[in-house]
């Protein structure tokens, strides 16, 4: 309340408030002036080299000696392509002249910036075009294949005008400098969501086609680990035509390598071979290579590519063709001269094998119509057979029934015979026959003696009849036996046939007919194939494949290797972009499985790093320098105001505090020392310092590195405390004069205005006090 009253009336307290306000204004202006002056100076210096911040959009460097022509060409291009643009010649440094171009807003686009190289490609002496549009952020280290995805996401962020490919980096043009920090924060958060898993393959374990392997690994990661995102970003697989070309080249390389002759070299005579050695073979030359002479152009040269564990070696043919390796003796090539014989060679020529296989296949193809025709005929026969299958089965079944009935009849017919005993009759008949035999023998003798021989024949006939009867009686016995056996056999046949018949009945004749019908349809289609054309093509392929010589393949492979090596695709490294929530430990088994071996190293890296462009960085530094200068000036100003204006006040406050106080002793003195910080004059100093410095920082845009805003009033308070501690020494007040004033009945305000301030150090307060003082 008292304070408010004092503010309303013309009091010294009001003077102090006015002083503080004026001090803050003066200090802020001073700090602003110093910082702006320094900033203007540095900015001007910088601008003379790289233009003002945001002034230019493009920088085009040309060779100094071509700058006149270049300037004309640049002017022409911007007039034609970017009407409304302006160009300014910049400094010439180290033989290069810079031209700055300002583009109208409508040409500040992603498309324009990504085509700058083409747009300004015709400039004579051109050494490069760079983007200067500010404010801008640059993200480096982003894998090629991830750039599109990242740019798409960045362009959706608030504060981003557009993102574009800036060489190997991504440039992000912002709407304003104030958006820089929030956009940077958003991009950082985005980058943290992803990680790049780098898969490195050591020498000897490189994948044949890293692009395909990368795609396979990415697919497996998504499937096996259920990752939302996994992409092979080793190369940009979407927009870069060169990627396709390289991929094709790699496939071509793999194809050629597969059909290059496989040369196996066996050392002889204990010769030692090493990778890289070249051997000379006779080839189509008329004579074997002669030691000491250079190799003939008709010789076959084989370069060793690998040494196997059994001592044999593999090689590729650098000159000639494997088919010319009739003479297997190889000679070492030493300093381009034929040396001693060291090995014999054997080879397999996949091209010849392919040609042979194609040739055979063409023959096979030629036979296909005949095969189809024959098969069609057989199929028809089979169909007919199947058509009568059921009736045949029925006939067989009927036959079996007849057989079974015949068996029964036989059994019935012979059952009487089984009870007749023919053995005694047959013995009697045999005896009679024998007697007739004796008789006949006798008669035959008689006949020889001239007797009548007619009875002999009659007796012989009788004997034969007896024997025959006996035999018939014996056969009668056999018939009975045979009849039983026949019945048994018939039963067995009938039983077995019925089993067979059951099997035959089970056969799906209808299904077989349907299958045959389908087969007939396919055979009809096979018959419609233009087999002669296929055969001709196969013969053409067979004829063309062998046309590649091994040396052609070797040279082609060398060219392809050079081409691939010149591209950005590192064969020994695959980059998979995925979410950051998966570890390399989880990924490793999948990589090993897809690669077919575990000889690969995995490590995770950030998706990219934000790197403000150098110019923006420079201006950022300037901005910081400006803030630092403003801050330092504010601190100096606050200190000066404290010293020159406030020490006298502090001294008076201190004097009044101590007027009725005795000097403490003992522990009270120690306690008083610690409590001194709360002394009135020190509190006053801290308050003034904190208020002045904070306000000056705010108004002048001050900033000290590593000093947070909350620290500013603290620093101000510390300054005030320091000054207050030495107030008596800095601005001693005459206590006797003050006492004289008090004795005259002067108020504190009057004492301050008439006695203390006029006698204090000259400063702003003294100047302000001059208006109030009665005795100047």
């Amino acid at each position: 309340m008292t304070f408010a009253k004092n503010m309303l009336r013309d009091s010294f307290q009001r003077d102090i408030i006015i002083l503080l306000v004026v001090s803050i204004l003066v200090g802020s202006m001073l700090a602003s002036a110093v910082s702006m002056g320094a900033n203007a100076y540095f900015s001007k210096t910088l601008a003379s080299f790289v233009g003002d911040y945001g002034e230019f959009d493009l920088i085009i460097n040309v060779r100094e000696e071509m700058k006149i022509d270049s300037a004309q060409q640049i002017q022409k291009i911007i007039n034609d392509v970017f009407p409304g643009s302006t160009m300014k010649e910049g400094p010439t440094l180290t033989g290069k002249t810079s031209f700055f171009v300002t583009l109208p807003a409508q040409y500040q686009t992603k498309q324009v910036y990504e085509d700058l190289g083409k747009t300004f490609g015709s400039i004579p002496g051109g050494a490069g075009v760079g983007v200067m549009t500010d404010p801008r952020l640059t993200i480096r280290g982003v894998p090629e294949g991830a750039k599109n995805m990242l740019m798409d996401k960045i362009m959706q962020m608030d504060g981003v005008r557009f993102a574009f490919r800036d060489g190997s980096s991504i440039g992000v043009v912002l709407q304003s400098l104030e958006k820089s920090a929030p956009v940077e924060k958003q991009i950082n958060a985005l980058l943290k969501q992803y990680q790049v898993i780098e898969i490195s393959f050591p020498v000897g374990s490189e994948p044949a086609n890293p692009i395909r392997l990368g795609e396979a690994i990415a697919g497996a990661l998504q499937q096996d680990l259920r990752l939302q995102y996994a992409q092979n970003v080793s190369v940009d697989g979407k927009n870069d035509d060169m990627t396709y070309a390289v991929s094709t080249m790699m496939e071509m390389r793999r194809f050629l390598t597969a059909y290059a002759s496989q040369v196996t070299i066996t050392p002889t005579g204990g010769a030692q071979l090493a990778k890289g050695d070249t051997l000379v073979f006779q080839g189509t030359a008329p004579a074997a290579p002669a030691a000491g002479s250079p190799p003939d152009k008709n010789n076959v040269l084989v370069q060793i590519t690998a040494i196997k564990s059994d001592g044999t070696a593999e090689g590729t043919i650098a000159q000639g063709d494997a088919s010319a390796l009739a003479n297997p003796q190889g000679y070492r090539l030493d300093k381009n001269l034929v040396a001693e014989p060291v090995a014999t060679v054997s080879y397999s020529n996949p091209r010849q094998q392919l040609a042979g296989a194609l040739d055979e296949t063409s023959k096979l193809v030629a036979e296909i119509p005949g095969f189809a025709q024959d098969a069609r005929g057989m199929s028809t026969i089979a169909m007919n057979a199947l058509e009568s299958y059921d009736s045949g089965i029925a006939a067989v079944e009927k036959t079996l029934d007849g057989v079974q009935a015949a068996g029964t009849t036989i059994q019935a017919a012979t059952s009487g015979l089984a009870t007749i005993d023919t053995s005694a009759l047959r013995a009697q008949l045999d005896t009679s026959a024998k007697g007739l035999g004796g008789l006949i023998g006798t008669l035959k003798v008689l006949k020889l003696a001239g007797g009548d021989g007619s009875s002999i024949d009659s007796l012989a006939g009788t004997q034969s009849s007896l024997v025959g009867l006996s035999s018939t009686l014996g056969a009668l016995d056999n018939v009975a036996v045979n009849a039983r056996q026949a019945k048994t056999a018939i039963d067995s046949v009938v039983s077995g046939s019925q089993s067979t018949l059951a099997t035959l009945k089970a056969f799906d004749a209808a299904g077989a007919k349907a299958s045959l019908s389908d087969m007939n349809g396919r055979l009809d289609k096979v018959q419609q194939i233009n087999a002669p054309l296929v055969a001709a093509q196969l013969q053409y392929m067979a004829a063309s494949a062998p046309n590649l010589k091994d040396e052609d393949i070797s040279h082609t492979l060398a060219i392809i290797d050079k081409f691939i090596a010149g591209q950005v695709i590192p064969g020994e490294r695959i980059q998979i972009l995925t979410t950051s929530n998966i570890s390399t430990d989880a990924v490793a088994p999948i990589v090993h499985r897809e690669a077919g071996h575990s000889n690969a190293a995995l490590y995770a890296t950030d998706m990219g790093i934000i790197e403000p462009d150098a110019r923006g960085q420079l201006y950022q530094v300037l901005h910081e320098v400006k803030a630092i200068l403003a801050g330092i000036t504010a601190m100096v100003a606050a200190s000066l105001f404290l010293v020159f204006d406030h020490t006298a006040i502090m001294a008076v406050i201190r004097r009044r505090r101590l007027a009725n106080r005795t000097k403490p002793a003992g522990w009270r003195a120690i306690a008083a020392r610690f409590a001194a910080i709360s002394a009135a004059e020190r509190l006053y100093g801290m308050a003034c310092g904190a208020v002045m410095l904070t306000a000056m920082f705010i108004f002048a845009g001050g900033g000290i590195p590593y000093l947070p805003w909350i620290g500013v009033p603290v620093v101000g308070a510390l300054l005030g405390l320091l000054v207050a501690s030495y107030a008596d020494k800095i601005s001693p007040v005459a206590g006797d004069e003050i006492m004289a004033g008090e004795a005259l009945g002067l108020s504190l305000d009057e004492v301050m205005r008439e006695i203390v301030i006029p006698a204090a150090r000259p400063g702003l307060l003294q100047k302000l006090n001059n208006r109030k003082v009665k005795f100047r």
């Binding site: 005795t662 004795a743 005259l744 009945g745 002067l746 108020s747 009665k774």
Partner: protein, 257 residues
């Protein structure tokens, strides 16, 4: 005019003024004497509260000064002149401005204040030094400016705090002459702290002796110095006797004092 009752003042453990009571009548000149550190200056400064008393009363013109607000006491101070031992002049101001200061700050127009200041300076014989700053004046002249400054208000009460203590003996006289003149014409009531025995003997209506913060004896000078009742009084008596004896100097064969 002025009544002091049971005045107390301590500085820590040191008792500067202990239970001092004093009565000063209108126009009376009271001299406080005593050894150094006995509390004389503290007592006189507590009267107008240049030093805040711890207890007791200071009744001036019927009002207790110890109970007054700061604004009230400032008004009272304009009625009480104070002359300091160290002169306490404002160094940046001329003699005239020093005298004018209180008047002008009290609202008096500058010209009127200047006239009054000139009159005060004339009274102390320094009208010719009106434009000089304290640093250009001798100690006696400075003190006379201090007296003029106190007189300019035409105070009802004049407090003198050893006004000659900082002066060399030769300059003491010119101050004492002024003081004697003021006392002689009873221009104001005076309470004087001094060690000047001749001044006390010739000018004081009443002598108050202090020792260790207390009033040990008071009375008219003849009584106190001739028949002292206190040890301090006795020592003053012996001093007077000594000075009288040693002052009997012979100069060119003649006794001059």
């Amino acid at each position: 005019m002025l009544t002091i009752n049971n005045l107390h003042k301590r500085f820590g453990k040191v008792v500067a003024v202990a239970d001092v009571s004093l009565e000063v009548k209108q126009g009376e000149t009271v001299v406080l004497m005593g050894p150094s550190g006995c509390g004389k200056s503290t007592t006189i400064r507590t009267i107008n509260r240049l030093v805040e008393p711890d207890g007791g009363e200071v009744i001036f013109a019927g009002r207790d000064l110890t109970a007054m607000s700061s604004e009230e006491i400032r008004a009272v101070r304009k009625r009480i002149g104070f002359v300091f031992q160290q002169f306490n002049l404002i160094g940046r101001l001329t003699a005239e401005e020093n005298v004018m200061l209180g008047l002008v700050m009290d609202g008096m127009p500058k010209e009127a204040a200047r006239d009054k200041a000139l009159a005060a300076l004339t009274k102390v014989g320094l009208e010719s030094c009106r434009g000089q700053k304290p640093g250009e004046l001798s100690g006696g002249q400075q003190q006379r400016v201090g007296i003029a400054r106190a007189l300019a208000f035409e105070p009802e009460l004049m407090l003198w705090d050893e006004p000659t203590a900082s002066l060399d003996p030769i300059l003491v006289r010119e101050v004492l002459v002024v003081m004697e003149e003021l006392a002689k014409y009873r221009a104001s009531t005076m309470v004087v702290v001094t060690h000047e025995l001749p001044f006390a003997l010739h000018v004081a209506d009443r002598l108050v002796l202090m020792d260790k913060g207390r009033v040990v004896e008071e009375g008219v000078p003849d009584k106190v110095f001739v028949t002292p009742a206190s040890e301090v009084g006795q020592r003053y008596k012996e001093l007077i006797e000594y000075q009288m004896n040693t002052s009997a100097l012979t100069l060119a064969g003649r006794r001059v004092a």
